[in-house]
Symmetry: C2
Subunit: 485 residues, 2 copies
């Protein structure tokens, strides 16, 4: 018996055997976060800890002993009134907080480029979305933070909305001004819910941006596994406000998560909280220092552009996460995706994500100074070897992000309609059955239930011609669009 | 740094260190399923396999390589047309199959004692539930299988229903006549969806009951982790029928599961499939033989009652799962719960579940003959030492399971109503805000949105007096009931 007929196991082992430095999630970095501090919570056979709710092992859905205690310790550590451990990822937290804060038919103010789980919640809760456009980062050619001005406009136009949802930080490490946004929401009797998936580490070092809870958010969902040393799919949600109906929230937390939760995932959340409380500040300082050093080296000695604190103030950038490395390669005439491949194949470094223009590397308490130095050197080597490109990569027409299309059906209604694939030239005037998201900049140009205009088609075709990916589409080649019959 | 301040990790380690024989889920039994056959897929540091969707590692939500291949291999192994791996437990599968098969407002025929995930799906999909009462097991005092007659009655009364959902086997190992039920559903243009959470192993040995797919079910959700050697929270759903809208199903599979799935859970599903294909028949034969031996010993040499194939035909029992050990202790004057505690403290054996009358032990390919023999001996020792009880435990008034209350609000509507806690004496005529489930027999006497009658109150108080637990209630002591304002 061997793994050649077990394709998933084999793929994971093959990757693990490549001996690559991980600049991607999860935050424990292949267990390195534990080895590094000489505390290996799972050194004993991990499978022996994978058990069900036998006496002595608590129940996530009605915690009374160890899970209750662990959640209380986490609430203290993260500055919350209540903390809930999540086993269906941050998705389960986003769903629960939005379902708990709304009733069917309510208006909800959300960023147009929110994570798909926010749209999922809008569908499950039967809500009417009011979209805010994010600012545009003119250097990185991607969606940036949400400005308080945009939030204020949406609130004034829709004073009957119940909730404002903000994603902060972005995948690229850009934070919005949550303090101002929180004030705007609360002054207008709305709750502020924050998708802080990429910011679970913020509270553990003073050089990092303020946490959403510190800025006044009522509920927050965090991907603990992304930037802290817990296992993939394990997350937390925090509640600080008295305005939240906790019984309703608990109901939806149960509804959106398995009745057979993995206690290994739960134990990994508990362990991540403990390690961060004990050593978080010191470990984060070391890694942020290394990242800042990389930033300086890249910005000072190459033609590349690495996002840094000096960007604060432009294009919706209110603050940035020092541990997130976002580098733009446009000037070299190399796509981010090509750099991603070179880093893996030539330098044994794997970044989290790349798009046409940029790469994103995630650094956590699981990293070592040496690997960050290797990343810095590899990037500068690529820049040097490549030189400034003859053909700078063409940017998307950021200024031309088209007006918000008319919504004929709410997202949940669109889900239940019959659909058909229609050649793109015949789609104008039809109701769209899918989401079209040119990435970058990562802002949907149309959502299911909205009318397809000529502007939408033209913009999509222009992006496609420039090599921009069309996320979320059935036919990414843009020959056909799925429309409602 | 140590685990005393990491309560969840400590609880799991403490249990693991007790060196107890596991007669509970997950099916790998602390990794024993792998050690036993000398193939240890996770002997390498498991954390090094916990990675995100880097190149080479496939994406669960749009599988193209290893996950696609693994799902296809699983479809072959389980006799399906399509198989989907699940990381939010069987809950995610139940939600997806019900959401895919219905539109809001549709009628759905479900057992009154279905798993809470079926009710969850009814809420998420805004469906109108039509309840079927399960048969009652007069010896074990619990809910038994669903009779085709009961299904037929519901279909005749509600010919406009779209879907029939059946739970088979039950937690206690009792199967319903799915072939007949499938014929009834299909003859009336309804889909048959089966919650086969406890029957993932059925297809791997001919002495076990037929699988739901073999009986004609259109879609099936299975808790692979319960009876096969995968990790807790990992499950599968299978589709066999052409009548299923696969695009809609895939949409809801994405909606109900994390966008950051654990690849360790996925690899464990892949591994479980492989092991069962390679060695399942042989391993299951050994364990079923041991279980049959235990059954004979218990039934022949003690006053206890162990469910066996000889029960087929009575009280809704169409077939039974040989690997499930269900023993009734009523005659001894000992509660199942008390026996559960004795087995753990005196014999170092932990069963899956116990109620006032019975214990349930789960045996899988991860068990050894010796541990089953130890369980058999321990049970007979308890029976011998205890002797026949002076006070046989009083049964619930099975005959008095009251008529189905009137539904004023559909379950999803009840979720969104304000509620208040009212003293039980003042609740008659109010709309219930919670579920009241005397366990055993485990059949809800009232659901949220239904009118509380005097019969409901009397029955609940009678059960409570007999020591029967009230599951699902905010105040299990029955002083207050949560009702809709």
């Amino acid at each position: 018996m061997n793994d050649k007929d077990i394709p998933i196991l084999k793929a994971l082992r093959d990757y693990s055997n490549e001996d690559i430095a991980y600049f991607h999630t999860p935050g424990h970095k292949g267990g390195n976060a534990f080895r590094k501090i000489g505390f290996e919570p799972f050194d004993k056979d991990l499978l022996s800890l994978d058990v069900t709710e036998v006496p002595g092992v608590d129940n996530l859905h009605c915690p009374e002993t160890s899970i209750k205690e662990a959640q209380e310790l986490a609430a203290q550590a993260f500055g919350a009134k209540h903390t809930f451990f999540l086993v269906n990822g941050t998705t389960g937290g986003i769903y629960s907080m939005i379902l708990a804060a709304t009733n069917p038919g309510d208006k909800i103010i959300i960023p147009r480029n929110c994570h798909k789980s926010v749209i999922g919640a809008v569908i499950l809760a039967r809500l009417q979305p009011i979209y805010i456009s994010p600012e545009l980062d003119t250097i990185l050619s991607i969606a940036s933070g949400i400005s308080p001005t945009a939030v204020k406009k949406a609130i004034i136009e829709h004073p009957d909305a119940k909730v404002v949802v903000i994603t902060s930080p972005t995948y690229y490490g850009v934070c919005s001004d949550l303090e101002q946004i929180s004030k705007l929401a609360h002054d207008n009797k709305m709750l502020l819910l924050v998708d802080e998936a990429h910011g679970a580490h913020f509270g553990f070092h003073s050089d990092l941006p303020k946490t959403a809870l510190q800025c006044g958010a009522d509920m927050v969902a965090q991907s603990t596994h992304k930037t802290l040393p817990s296992m993939t799919q394990s997350s937390m949600m925090h509640v600080k406000s008295d305005k939240v109906n906790i019984d309703k929230l608990k109901f939806f937390l149960q509804l959106t998560q398995s009745t057979s939760p993995s206690h290994i995932l739960l134990a990994s959340l508990d362990t991540a909280r403990y390690i961060m409380q004990q050593k978080g500040e010191e470990l984060l300082k070391d890694i942020a220092d290394e990242c800042n050093c990389l930033r300086d080296e890249v910005n000072n000695t190459s033609d590349l552009y690495c996002l840094s604190k000096t960007d604060i103030g432009r294009d919706g950038i209110f603050d940035i996460d020092n541990t997130r490395i976002t580098i733009n390669f446009s000037k070299l005439g190399l796509s981010g995706t090509a750099v991603d491949e070179i880093l893996r194949s030539k330098f044994k470094l794997q970044v989290e994500m790349s798009d046409l223009y940029n790469i994103v590397a995630i650094c956590t308490v699981g990293d070592n100074a040496e690997s960050v130095k290797r990343l810095s050197k590899a990037i500068r080597t690529i820049a040097k070897e490549q030189g400034i490109g003859l053909n700078q990569i063409e940017s998307p027409s950021l200024g031309a992000i088209i007006a918000m299309p008319s919504m004929i059906l709410e997202p949940w209604e669109a889900v239940y309609q019959s659909k058909e694939d229609v050649p793109i030239d015949n789609c104008i005037g039809r109701i769209c059955g899918e989401m079209i998201v040119p990435y970058p900049p990562g802002i949907p140009i149309i959502m299911p239930g909205e009318i397809i205009s000529k502007d939408v088609i033209d913009y999509a075709l222009d992006c496609s011609r420039k090599g921009i990916k069309m996320n979320g589409m059935k036919d990414a080649s843009l020959k056909y669009i799925s429309v409602i019959k």
